[in-house]
Amino acid sequence: MRFLALASRHRVVIILGLTLIISALVVPGYFSASTLGLGLDRAATIGLIAIGLTVLLIAGQIDLSGGAVFALAGIVSVILQREIGILPAAIVGILAGMLAGAINGALVVGLKVNSLVLTLATMLIFRSLAHWITNSQPVSGADIMLSLALAKIYLDVFTIRSALFIILIVLLHVWLTRTIPGRNVFAVGSNPAAAKESGIASDRIVFLGFVFAGTLAGLAGVLQSLVTNTGSPVFGSELTVAVIAAVVVGGTRLGGGRGSALGTLGGVLTIGSLTIAMEFQSVPAYVQQVVSGLILILLVVLDRAVTTKGRAPGTRPALVRDNPITQGGNT
């Protein structure tokens, strides 16, 4: 039992380790720096969105529209390149993601609706907007040179994108564990009523959580469009599932109140290395999704097996000797 609980706590490490070992056995030269760098860069896109989603899930919310915001932000930044220049266009793209997040947050908080349903709806809307703006055609950017710079691998491992991801994960870790707003996010997700009663501005935290998630999805989308020099309305359509899988593999609870940045890092690396390994073995994309799905199911089952067995015994009052009625019996 203790072993199981321990295994559950450090499961990200175990899962990541297993993934790497199996990948190394199956894929020759898996541990070469360039493979790792490629895997990390691939993981960074998932990872940037996962950072936002980690905060939201801890706060007891979810955002399914990340993949659509990713596409939309990328398109905005590519379309505007010729008119206002690459950097301003990139900033506008990120702002578009921020705006999308603000819309999600305002609707969830303002209408007091379930974020799963709401972001499902906005996911459709954002995705359709992306098709509408582009007439469902990919759009290409002004300058291919920047793409090459962004795709370049520094220090044998890092691209700009993956370095950014690692830096943000570290900042997220500090924020979640060491700052008061970070701790309050856990309170809001774990027991909203208690948080509210203690004067924590739950609504503001939830709203800002959505803004943060939207901004990061936008950032990921802009980076992707810069790297590929393309904006496409179909970008990121399978991203949401991979992102949720990564965050949940990392031990963040779907119900809110539990999660960590380092766990998400582990989850993202797991999904990333798995993807790379399968790509090297020419496993088709749809099979990769099947594997992600199966892993998710396995984790949920493992999680339940550990938590229900380890639950504290039921709570009942001690044997009460006195009782108002008998005392009232005019003794």
Binding site: N191, G199, L319, G329
Partner: protein, 500 residues
């Protein structure tokens, strides 16, 4: 000290109307600094509403509130907290995933530029817990604590805020006698520090022990405020219910018949084993014991909510194999669970829908529910059990605890079981409803049903049950016959201290 400065809280002419209901009418309520002031009343008397007005959750329809002599207006709980008013709820209202220290300082953690000063927070929380005499590690995750420890953390949280007025709502409902004594020491210390303490409880003996003054509410009105000196529990009950509570546990003697439910040497492999008893038609068998002795686990296993690994269960002489509640219902066993909110009711549904839930198949034809039969059935039970308000279409979670419990019992009666297991059927219900529930149980056995009643309250067990099984550490004693029943005997069996 002047009278005005002495007055911590002065609520005048407070009324609160909800659509269709007048929850409070013209209530005057004043509390002085440095006193413990008890508020008593039946469920639905308006205690909770009054406290929600006091902590800013509800705005009163009319009336004025003065705190420390100055008139105030509170729009949200944060306003009340800014005025130094703190609530300790009956239900634990903490964050299970944060540490004890983080919970104590929830909403006001110490820090600089929003960076948490964890060391300082842990140190301060440890000091507060220490002052309250609670041996709890401030670094522990709150969810890992027992309920009574969590209750102490809740009190520490309120105390750490250095309140001027602190409201405790049924703080002892999950505390043992020992812990209650410790809590009272804390309360006296807080009182001597000059804090005004408002103490809400059903346990009148505790009220008499700890409170300096008591205010009685009934039906949304303030009946009386007076010193506890010289008042008896009996007088308080009279004020609370507005009538004499005559016979305490009215049990009409029922004819005892054949054995209906018999369990032999059952065990679940972990929490109880070798438990045997039988209960006969027309009989109430009490099942009691200390917390964690395995009473609820036995009941849940018999009802098919958890698995038995050994032993047999028979109903009306026939061995049955039960692996799910639906099989239990088919075999003629019904179970009214302890956790009413979690397991007993479907909150969003009406009284009628809740009652007919287990027997919808019988009430429908070709998959369509016969509305008329459904309504008639609910109306019958609402009347028979005097469920208040007598409106079958009312959503069940809007009822008081006692009335919800009556509806849950009605739900299972509609299924016409031959054996009924009641788990703490009167926990958290008020004096009047308690008597009514006992009455209902009396009627049931008079009609030939076999009843197993789990209860932690010895007077209830002794007053209601024909025979009693005491459990300790997962083992059950031989059923005690009426001649052997005494408080001392049960306590001795429950604690394992054999009598000389």
């Amino acid at each position: 000290m002047t009278a005005a400065a002495d007055c911590a809280l002065d609520m005048r002419g407070i009324s609160k109307t909800f659509p269709g209901v007048k929850a409070l009418s013209d209530v005057n309520f004043a509390v002085r600094f440095g006193t413990v002031h008890a508020v008593v009343g039946e469920n639905g008397a308006g205690k909770s509403t009054l406290m929600k007005v006091l902590n800013g959750s509800y705005a009163p329809t009319s009336g004025t509130i003065k705190v420390g002599g100055a008139e105030v207006r509170m729009r949200r709980p944060a306003d009340a907290q800014a005025l130094g008013i703190r609530m300790v709820h009956q239900e634990i209202n903490l964050v299970p995933d944060l540490t004890v220290a983080e919970n104590v300082y929830l909403g006001r953690m110490p820090g600089r530029w929003s960076f948490l000063r964890k060391g300082e927070m842990v140190r301060k929380a440890a000091a507060v817990l220490d002052e309250l005499g609670a041996a709890i590690n401030p670094r522990e995750r709150l969810g890992n604590l027992s309920i009574s420890q969590q209750q102490l953390v809740e009190i520490a949280k309120a105390y750490a805020a250095q309140p001027r007025i602190i409201v405790l709502d049924e703080p002892t409902s999950s505390l043992s006698e020992h812990e209650t004594a410790a809590l009272f020491r804390i309360l006296r210390k807080m009182r001597d520090d000059g804090i005004a303490i408002i103490y809400i409880s059903h346990r009148l003996k505790e009220v008499l022990e700890i409170a300096d003054e008591v205010t009685v509410l009934r039906d949304g009105s303030m009946i009386e405020t007076r010193p506890t000196e010289g008042i008896t529990a009996a007088q308080m009950i009279r004020l609370m219910v507005g009538r004499e509570v005559s016979n305490v546990f009215p049990k009409s003697p029922a004819e005892i018949g054949e054995s209906v439910l018999r369990v032999e040497r059952i065990g679940d492999g972990t929490r109880f084993r070798d438990v045997s008893f039988d209960v006969r038609a027309g009989e109430i068998l009490g099942l009691t014991g200390l917390v964690g002795a395995g009473r609820t686990e036995v009941a849940r296993a018999i009802f098919g909510l958890s698995r038995l690994v050994e032993g047999t269960v028979s109903v009306n002489g026939r061995k049955v194999s039960i692996n799910s509640p639906s099989q239990a219902v088919k075999a003629g066993i019904a179970y009214v669970p302890e956790d009413r909110k979690g397991d007993g009711i479907v909150p969003g549904m009406s009284i009628r829908e809740n009652i007919s839930l287990p027997i919808l198949r019988r009430l429908s034809r070709f998959g369509r529910i016969k509305r008329g039969a459904d309504r008639a059935l609910a109306a019958d039970y609402v009347k028979q059990f005097s469920i208040s308000p007598p409106d079958g279409e009312r959503r069940i979670n809007l009822l008081s605890g006692g009335n919800q419990q009556k509806a849950v019992i009605a739900k299972w009666l509609a299924a016409k079981p031959s054996a009924l297991i009641l788990d703490e059927p009167t926990r958290g219900v008020d004096v009047g409803a308690k008597a009514e529930i006992h009455n209902i149980i009396g009627q049931l056995v008079a009609g030939g049903m076999a009843v197993v009643m789990i209860s932690s309250e010895l007077p209830e067990i002794l007053g209601v049950c024909d025979r009693v099984v005491v459990m300790r550490d997962g083992h059950a004693c031989e059923p005690l016959e009426p001649a052997e029943l005494s408080e001392e005997r049960i306590m001795a069996l429950a604690t394992g201290e054999e009598m000389a």
